[in-house]
């Protein structure tokens, strides 16, 4: 699946997007964040406060317990500050 990062999450991860293949045991957004955090210090830094992170699956906001099965694109970003 494709993963995108925005704002300071992007800066901390060090890339805007990538394709990842998490193991089948990673079923929810929360579990994906935990799995990514274990991949490197950059991810651990980006996701150090997982409750702050907002997630979208296929362009729609989701909660941390949302299932990731079938997702084409998952995006992680900080709370929004537009307008």
């Amino acid at each position: 699946m494709k993963v995108k990062y925005f704002a300071w999450v992007r800066e901390r991860v060090g890339k805007a997007e990538e394709t990842i293949e998490p193991p089948a045991t990673v079923r929810t957004v929360e579990e994906l964040i935990a799995w990514l955090s274990g991949q490197s210090e950059a991810y651990a830094y980006a996701f150090e406060k997982p409750k702050v992170i907002r997630t979208a699956i296929d362009h729609a906001h989701v909660k941390s317990d949302a299932a990731i099965a079938g997702a084409r694109e998952i995006a992680f970003f900080p709370p929004m500050t537009g307008g």
Binding site: A7, M80, T81, G82
Partner: protein, 165 residues
Amino acid sequence: MTAPVSTAPVSPCPVTIRIQQDDFDIAREIAILTGSRTDIGAVVSFSGICRGDEDSAKIAALTLEHYPGMAEEEIKRHADEATSRWPLNGVTIIHRVGRFMPGQNIVLVLTASQHRQAAFQAAEFLMDYLKTSAPFWKKEENATGTGWVEAHARDDEAAARWTRS
């Protein structure tokens, strides 16, 4: 017996959503929205402008980043909700991205209706949701460097008052 057929004309409600780097011309956008229609009695316009200070600290510039694709879709979802909640005759939402100096335009919301109440309320509803739910982020440049603007709880509270129980 046949059901009575309503002959009341249905006012069209065109929804325009644009995300762009270029500035917008409010008068021109209102003219496009109203055109030659005579069913519109009220147009409310909200402009968000880059401020020159935040909590008494000077702001040199703001950079707006967005999530292409989702930003348009998220704004559309809220515009559709607005048109279902209020009797609107048109909605225009323009959000700029890029780097802005104090005094420059960032966002425009126009709502048109037959009467002012719907236009006022819908414009406020749209702005409250733009701030808390549309995927845009501001980075601020000031004398001490650059930093991402933090979300305000007051914006979440402003959006929450529109939640229907």
